[in-house]
Symmetry: C2
């Protein structure tokens, strides 16, 4: 047999195995050595076949780990996105949606799950905070911290972000009580009651709730899992209505999980300049990137129009209640608003987190977390393959969840209560819009390990969702 | 000598000694045994004289400790209060005032003082929080806490308040990031941009800053160090303008330090009902009471119109960033606002504080603190006696500061920068009003121990204040 033929034969055999799910998404292929032995081939022939499959997007090479399946069977197309834009409207979040938000903010599938021990990274963080508490002296507990927050923590955050391609000075950062608090400050600083704010659709429900409470009007801009917010639609909206701010999540925002392409990033900044717009960047998932960590949109903000908001909640601990904001041209107003609305953040806490970052704990934790999240994503997708219905699902390269489109007849909001009776919490699609859309969509989290209990809950879902049609 | 004459002689001798400051305010008189021995009198004669002086208000009996001087020499009259009411106006806080607020929020006289070790009560609190951190498990760090806050902490706070005469259920409490945050939520829930809010004058500058940022109009209601907010003036204002809310500090509010009399409490609630008013009660100093801890105004709020705001900052630690709010008829809206503006509070922190309260640490700390604060107040007043100018000063029964009226020619705001050059931080009177009043007033803190360094700074003040006249 010619060498040409040999590698091609192996390639076809592997392709077929992936198509038939002998190896499923996220699984590792047999090692090069095993393939050599079992197929009686040379190392270079095997490598050639694997590299060709990698180039086709079916495999992913991970250094020192091997080749992993990244192919999505055809049945799993990506979810469709909405097309139309509605008039600006005030937001009304129903009590049912509020209840759902309360229950599933962090965790779907299983409520009240005892998740067991803490990851080592969080244990180390807590130790660092404990040490900071023990070091507290008289002038710490009797003074409020400065409004912008602890300088050492801001220095560490500036350093952390500069490694991501965003060169920022500690003076441009202000510590907040989380990302939601940062979004709130950004909206308070840029908008007044009745103003119009553009958001991604589907988009983060916490932003919609904020708009409701601040009595701001919303324009929902179609956002796809492939290319993020549709900048043409945004421009159309800007032509039609006076819009004051636009909230976007360029890196793996929930639920679309999309990484905004460079062309959209440039376009949205051009539009901001042209239409005098504040861009509120929700970067909370930026650090979860499974591959290269993307620059924030803020990194190319030459006109000081991007307010970056983020926190430690998604990648470290939701119980820290620490976030940050970089307020661009509105920064001093934002610090002022933080001062009058809550004076300061805990100094001991900020010092503890700064220590943790200085000692490299945060970077180490992130490396581990990213690997685990990718594996959990792959495991989730593999299980979705087995669902007894057509579905479309995205393959996010960061974040904590996938976005699933089910057959049109499925009503996820209607199924919420029924699922709860089975002790399964779901996150229905209509949460992510004010217009009742995405009724046959579901967000599913892969943040947590796939324990048998969680897999069982996941596998019970199709029956619950499909039975009522 | 008749017995009648003997006790009278001792009484006159003691009176003269107090007038001439042989024993100064807050100092203990010689013991009964000593007085018996030195004056050759019986125990009952000495006791009779002391009791008569106590009845005249010159002495204070403290069980198991003896008799203490509570007389204020005539030179120290109480500060005068304002009389007129201005039209509602928007608040503009100048940059200078903002700078002063930043520096002296917690501590006047000396900036950047290294105050040394923590009080045992704060050490115990921090240990409790550290333990709570070490006990954290998977479901703690991955979930947000419920919006109203940790139930155990709310139960402890309810218990604590019920001992003060306010029977409250944990459901009526919501945990916040401090009292300022609670005030913010209260104003957000009850007012809209442009609405009018009545405040005490002089009153807490943090409330004025909040009104500025929320674009609310202020009406300043005269408030005296003897009887608190003038309810007749408040009624006059309510007749003239549509007022949505009134912020009051019935217990030792800064800077007046006054305890609102029962008659004013009843009157203000009647006015609230008559004029459809929200009463925002700032109770942050309630727990510092040197004598019996007063009921909050909220305790007699039968019409659900009083929103109580408080925190641990003044009596425990400013670095906790934990407060609470009881929102009356606006409570569910307030919880909702807390949820959308910052999601949740740290669970580990709330659990640690709840443990501390359960174990009796908080009550023990408060007992000690109250005693210390009273002694520090007395020490401050004694030093003020020596100032080479006329002054009027109040004698607060709680709180952390006195309110000093200086000769009319003194300009405390003007002296601020000069004092700073001498490394002395002062809190000028004009901070406590929007109308430029109280220019010859000063708030002086007695929160901290009177170290030689602090006494020295205090004694340098008259020269700084009086030289520029």
């Amino acid at each position: 047999m010619a060498t040409d033929y040999l590698y091609h034969q192996l390639e076809s055999w592997l392709q077929e195995g992936i198509q038939k799910q002998r190896w499923r998404l996220g699984e590792r292929l047999p090692s090069i050595r095993t393939l050599c032995q079992e197929h009686g081939l040379s190392r270079s022939t095997v490598q050639h076949a694997l590299q060709r499959l990698e180039a086709q997007g079916l495999l992913e090479a991970r250094p020192k780990a091997g080749y992993f399946v990244r192919f999505q069977p055809k049945a799993l197309e990506i979810p469709q996105s909405r097309v139309q834009i509605d008039e600006p409207q005030l937001v009304t979040v129903s009590d049912l949606l509020l209840d759902i938000m309360g229950r599933s903010a962090a965790f779907d599938l299983l409520p009240d799950l005892n998740v067991g021990d803490l990851p080592p990274g969080v244990v180390a963080l807590n130790r660092s905070i404990g040490r900071s508490l023990r070091r507290q002296r008289g002038d710490d507990y009797q003074y409020y911290d400065e409004p912008a927050g602890n300088l050492r923590l801001r220095e560490q955050l500036a350093l952390h972000n500069s490694r991501r391609g965003w060169i920022v000075s500690p003076d441009e950062l202000c510590i907040t009580s989380g990302c939601q608090h940062a979004l709130f400050l950004a909206l308070m600083a840029t908008c007044e009651k009745g103003d119009v704010v553009a958001v991604e659709s589907p988009g983060f429900y916490g932003a919609l709730q904020l708009l409701e409470q601040l009595e701001l009007k919303v324009v929902e801009v179609p956002t796809s899992v492939e290319s993020g917010i549709d900048t043409d639609s945004l421009e159309e909206a800007l032509k039609n209505w006076k819009i004051k701010a636009c909230i976007v999540s360029p890196a793996f925002g929930t639920p679309s999980g999309v990484l905004m392409p460079d062309s959209s990033r440039k376009r949205i900044l051009e539009l901001a300049e042209q239409y005098d717009l504040a861009i509120i960047e929700d970067d909370i998932y930026g650090d979860t990137a499974f591959g290269a960590v993307p620059d924030p949109l803020k990194a190319i903000d030459t006109e000081s129009r991007v307010i970056l908001c983020s926190s430690f909640s998604k990648c470290m601990s939701r119980d820290l209640r620490l976030g940050w904001i970089s307020g661009a041209r509105w920064h001093s107003r934002i610090i002022r608003l933080k001062l009058v609305t809550q004076l300061a953040s805990s100094r001991y806490l900020q010092q503890g987190v700064a220590d943790y970052m200085e000692e490299g704990g945060f970077a180490t934790h992130l490396r581990k977390l990213r690997k685990e999240l990718r594996e959990r994503r792959d495991c989730l997708i593999a299980h979705l393959h087995d669902w007894p219905c057509d579905l479309r699902v995205n393959l996010p390269q960061g974040g904590l969840s996938v976005w699933v489109e089910l057959p049109e007849s499925v009503d996820t909001l209607g199924a919420y209560t029924k699922a709860l009776e089975h002790n399964v919490v779901i996150t229905p699609g209509p949460l992510f819009s004010v217009s009742g859309q995405f009724q046959n969509y579901l967000r599913i989290s892969f943040e947590h390990p796939w324990s048998p209990k969680r897999v069982n809950a996941l596998n019970r879902l199709p029956e619950i969702l499909l039975s009522d049609r």
